[in-house]
């Protein structure tokens, strides 16, 4: 074993030769002040506007084009070399009743025009509301570092006015110029001040990603995303609370802050700040994964009063969150009482949990009957990964009340059975153990994938057949079909 250590050492030493890192405090960008400034706007203080506008915004959240960049000579992709990026904002709301006739010119110290831009590049009509325009962010522009000036002129139906605002940009700076047309032409603010206190524990690992990367990562963790602010502008978003939603703040196409709904900055450990909802707060030092919980497939009518209480505990037996099925389903607009029986039963409840070992305690209830016995499931969740657990309506012959359907998101995808019949007790077994277990239950076995490679499969339905996904000789996903 010492030989292995020595070989690892030699290899690592050789690889590290010629690698030069730059201390972050010596990078050209000014030091971020993530938590030093006052919260300019509480993350949960969002604006509710007309539903039609919300629909427009939600529709755009899934795209990559929320950030207005581009233009004739390029907006601001990430700062390059000695460049900086500035974003100009105008007004507090991202919706206006008339287009704003606003022309912008960026000039260097010699008075040479770097770029001419128009606010109309950002404006787009609101579908169904012809008198409204929507602006989805500030106007981003890449500029060379140095002493610069913004000239702005406003025309149209408002009082024509123009002004000039000098500003200094260091290489790598990310600045926001807030046009006021008052005593001050534009207030200059750093991105770091803009996003101060907007990053929650879960969001730390998203900073620096593109929106597409953040979406991918969030999806892998069982989260949805939406853009709540871009290039200095706070966007109009709904005020509903969804514990599995990550709110992104973008600047120049890059995530500069992110937090879950209701997740305020946590100073350290598991402390709960006064203004936070702490049932979803997880220590910022704890890597986060996600548990997805569904119900075994069932046919029939909705049983009045059916509900499930779910309690999530971490490895230290701390209660992380307590949910009910009905509340979780209704948060998605699904209520069995309203006739949405199938969506109610097929709902998937997702809960962020620390990666590692977690314990799920579920209790089913059918009023007026008393609650059933609590069902305990222990499941390992990987960092930024999703494990899926299927709850059984009644214990099976082996006494199992829940089944780990998939230990990882990748395994779940390879299994490809979001509504497969549960196969409790298989995940974690070796292939031989799984064969023996299946034989003891009178089931046949089909291996759907090994080590990430899918096998060919038929679509026939055989409830007495257990389908397995194997990784490194172990079952990582199992369901019957």
């Amino acid at each position: 074993m010492n030989d292995l250590r020595e070989r690892l050492n030699r290899l690592a030493d050789a690889a590290a030769e010629g690698v030069e890192l730059t201390p972050p405090d010596q990078l050209p960008a000014s030091r971020p002040r993530w938590r030093s400034g006052p919260a300019l706007i509480a993350a949960t203080a969002v604006v509710v506007i007309a539903a039609v506008t919300v629909a427009v915004l939600v529709g755009r959240d899934d795209g990559d084009d929320d950030v207005a960049v581009g233009g004739n000579d390029g907006g601001g992709s990430a700062g390059q070399g000695n460049d900086a990026v500035v974003a100009v904002t105008y007004g507090d709301a991202s919706v206006s009743t008339d287009p704003v006739d606003l022309a912008l010119r960026f000039l260097d110290a010699d008075g040479t025009v770097i770029s001419e831009r128009s606010w109309s590049e950002l404006e787009q009509p609101t579908e169904g509301v012809p008198e409204q325009t929507v602006v989805m962010g500030g106007l981003a522009q890449r500029v060379p570092a140095g002493e610069l000036r913004l000239e702005a002129s406003r025309g149209g139906t408002l009082l024509p006015v123009q002004c000039s605002q000098p500003f200094t940009a260091a290489p790598g700076d990310r600045l926001i110029l807030r046009l006021e047309f008052g005593a001050t032409c534009a207030q200059v603010e750093s991105v770091e001040d803009w996003v101060a206190n907007r990053t929650g524990p879960t969001g730390v690992d998203y900073i620096g990603l593109t929106q597409a990367e953040a979406d991918d990562r969030a999806q892998a963790a069982g989260l949805t995303t939406r853009v709540v602010a871009a290039d200095g502008m706070d966007l109009a978003v709904t005020m509903d609370f969804r514990p599995d939603r990550l709110n992104l703040v973008l600047f120049d196409g890059i995530v500069v802050a992110a937090q879950l709904d209701g997740e305020e900055v946590v100073p350290s450990g598991l402390e709960c700040p006064d203004n936070a909802t702490c049932d979803t707060v997880i220590s910022p030092l704890v890597p986060v994964g996600s548990l997805a919980v569904d119900l075994e497939p069932v046919e029939g009518m909705f049983i009045e009063g059916f509900d499930v209480t779910l309690q999530f505990y971490d490895a230290g037996d701390n209660l992380l969150a307590e949910r009910t099925w009905s509340e979780s389903a209704s948060a998605t607009g699904t209520t069995a009482a309203a006739g949405d029986v199938d969506p109610y039963y097929t709902h998937v409840l997702r809960e962020p949990v620390p990666s590692g070992t977690n314990r799920l305690v579920t209790t089913m209830r059918i009023n007026p009957d008393p609650e059933g016995p609590p069902c305990e499931t222990t499941v390992d969740v990987g960092q930024a990964d999703v494990a899926r657990v299927t709850l059984l309506f009644a214990p099976d012959e082996q006494g199992a009340c829940a089944s780990i359907a998939a230990a990882t998101a990748e395994a779940d995808q390879l299994l490809g059975m979001p509504r497969g019949l549960p196969a409790p007790g298989f995940v974690g077994l070796s292939e031989n153990e799984a064969m023996d277990e299946a034989a003891s239950r009178g089931w046949t076995v089909r291996v759907l994938a090994r080590d990430g490679e899918g096998e060919t499969r038929t679509d026939d339905y055989q409830p007495e057949r257990v389908n397995l996904v194997l990784e490194d000789g172990r079952v990582v996903a199992a369901a019957r079909s």
């Binding site: 070989r7 030699r10 290899l11 050789a14 690698v19 972050p24 405090d25 993530w34 990367e213 990562r217």
Partner: protein, 163 residues
């Protein structure tokens, strides 16, 4: 501890750790630079006396290394890199070990590197990897079996990890 001291102490070791888990010098430099950048941004909290900044940064770096998308992104992004990696494509030693490590699943490779190179106990490995100690033992056991075959060292299989 001042961040500058932390950087000096941590960076060389973190680059090595990241290389052994990625077997990619560029990705290792990128992940290390990013992890240390995050530590610096949040130094008020990460560097507080009560926390373990080295463990925090190691976990962040491992997470960054594990994500293939990040390596791809690092190749595509426009921002200037804050690190340099000289080009020496073929002169790293011990190609057999590189191949053997490369054939291990990522989690097994992480467990081997953390336990046998970084000298972490099972509990510390589990914390760094975000899995249970039982999982770490399982990964180590399987990794030793594979390495024993790949490297032709049967004694590896008989090794028992320290707690």
């Amino acid at each position: 501890m001042e961040f500058a001291d932390f950087f000096e102490q941590t960076a060389p070791r973190l680059v090595r750790l990241c290389f052994l888990t990625t077997l990619d010098r560029e990705a290792a430099a990128d992940a290390t630079q990013e992890a240390l950048g995050r530590a610096w941004r949040d130094w008020g909290r990460v560097g507080a006396d009560s926390s373990d900044p080295a463990a925090w940064t190691r976990t962040v770096a491992l997470n960054l290394c594990r994500n293939r998308w990040r390596r791809l992104a690092s190749q595509a992004r426009l921002a200037p890199r804050a690190y340099t990696v000289d080009s020496r494509p073929d002169d790293l030693p011990d190609i057999d070990l590189q191949r053997a490590l490369g054939r291990l699943p990522v989690r097994q490779r992480e467990a081997v590197v953390l336990h046998y190179w970084a000298d972490l106990g099972v509990e510390a490995c589990a914390s760094a990897m975000g899995v249970s100690p039982g999982s770490v033992k399982q990964h180590l056991s399987r990794a030793r079996q594979r390495l024993a075959v790949e490297l032709g060292e049967p004694s590896l299989e008989l090794e028992v990890e320290s707690p």
